[in-house]
Symmetry: D3
Subunit: 101 residues, 6 copies
Amino acid sequence: MNAKILDAGNVNIKRLYALDTSTYLAGELPVKTKEMLGLISSMVLRCDDCIRYHLGKCHEEGVTTAELFEIFAIANLVGGTIVIPHTRRALEFWDELLTIK
Amino acid sequence: MNAKILDAGNVNIKRLYALDTSTYLAGELPVKTKEMLGLISSMVLRCDDCIRYHLGKCHEEGVTTAELFEIFAIANLVGGTIVIPHTRRALEFWDELLTIK
Amino acid sequence: MNAKILDAGNVNIKRLYALDTSTYLAGELPVKTKEMLGLISSMVLRCDDCIRYHLGKCHEEGVTTAELFEIFAIANLVGGTIVIPHTRRALEFWDELLTIK
Amino acid sequence: MNAKILDAGNVNIKRLYALDTSTYLAGELPVKTKEMLGLISSMVLRCDDCIRYHLGKCHEEGVTTAELFEIFAIANLVGGTIVIPHTRRALEFWDELLTIK
Amino acid sequence: MNAKILDAGNVNIKRLYALDTSTYLAGELPVKTKEMLGLISSMVLRCDDCIRYHLGKCHEEGVTTAELFEIFAIANLVGGTIVIPHTRRALEFWDELLTIK
Amino acid sequence: MNAKILDAGNVNIKRLYALDTSTYLAGELPVKTKEMLGLISSMVLRCDDCIRYHLGKCHEEGVTTAELFEIFAIANLVGGTIVIPHTRRALEFWDELLTIK
């Protein structure tokens, strides 16, 4: 569906999606840190699809389960218990990622 | 379920739902514009059911796919990449609407 | 999954989840009132899982259907029509709770 | 400014504002409970003006400071620490209300 | 301050801010419609600075006060009464814009 | 005012505020990373007071201005242009922090 969105030819959407790639590239901060930042933003804004995406990236970047739980702790603290159901689904997906590997 | 909610006889809920109809009627702004406003509000607030409802109305009012993508572009810009998964689902539903027609 | 989250041993998450229990215990306000407060917070923040949890508790505490609709009315008023789809799902779940009983 | 908004003559806005009054009238739930529901909704959605309005009403309805802190506790738990600055301002305003009386 | 942000030389921020300009240029939809879409998005997301910015643009594009109130009506309906304080401040700023002209 | 909130003696609020301290202590992740996570959460949830708090901590932990702008870039991308006014105020406060030092 992302491909379909890009095929539609709206130049501003294309630019935003390109930016969505370039913003997470290594810079002053390493990719791992940036992906943790993307993950927690997705958690407090409560977007399951976004959480899954950044969990995948965090896994690739070597985030450990213990580190992940510290991110969960901050997300649940700042965002409140309203984040708990998303945390449950995040952990389920993380378990899948660990099993695959 | 909407019928069931109304049947329950809470007068304030009935009034709010009546208002949900009257607010989108043609006035100073045409229905098409109002439905686009309802759509983008639903997008940035990230409510898939609301998005589908207003997509249906936008389709009835003759919003074109090119116009829709400009609404998507503003919604993704103002609301951020957190709106992307909802945009994907919106496009899927829009494709269904075009196919039915 | 909640058990799995707690088993992971992150002490701050454990404390937050313990707080999620203790905060709703009877105090100056009775449990029934606290659960109605938890329910409406979940509705305006639009978290279906949280809504179901507090609906279950409200049911246990003897909240009537007529009282529930007054909570729905305030949630839909303050949170806007964006709350309607969550209200529909809340009513569906409430009907299940009433049927089981 | 509310008067100016109503004077402008938009009938749907008038109806919504009328609904904002009627929804909080005594019904199945007493006014005190409804105002506590309005207060906590305003807190988790983080609107200082709305919080002040409902604090005023809660004060009129005889909500005690100990009860208020239990509402604060639920609001901060469900909504997260992001609600803390609003809680501080709420307490400041509550202190003013107590002093005036 | 926007200038200072851009001067700092972060290329991704520069691109996002450039996109913030290009997305509102005339395309399939006229600038007036796009600015109304930007305005209502800002209202339901409750950002006073963003609301003021788009009110200025709407004024330039010839949006009438009667049209504006229809946008307000949809924003207050979809976003809920939590949007009312922002509507009050929006009307205050609109009055300033009308006076200047 | 935080002191006043704690003095009021609500045990659940005390526990939450204690948690707000313990969650950011060094653990698997260093304090610097945790404070960056707290900062971006505050930015996408758009709480100026929270942003200022975490900016202060980030400054203490040695976050550089170039690193900060990469956090800003992710916050503005994920949260959308609605975050821009908060970014402006964040940069103003950061400049103050740099000047004081």
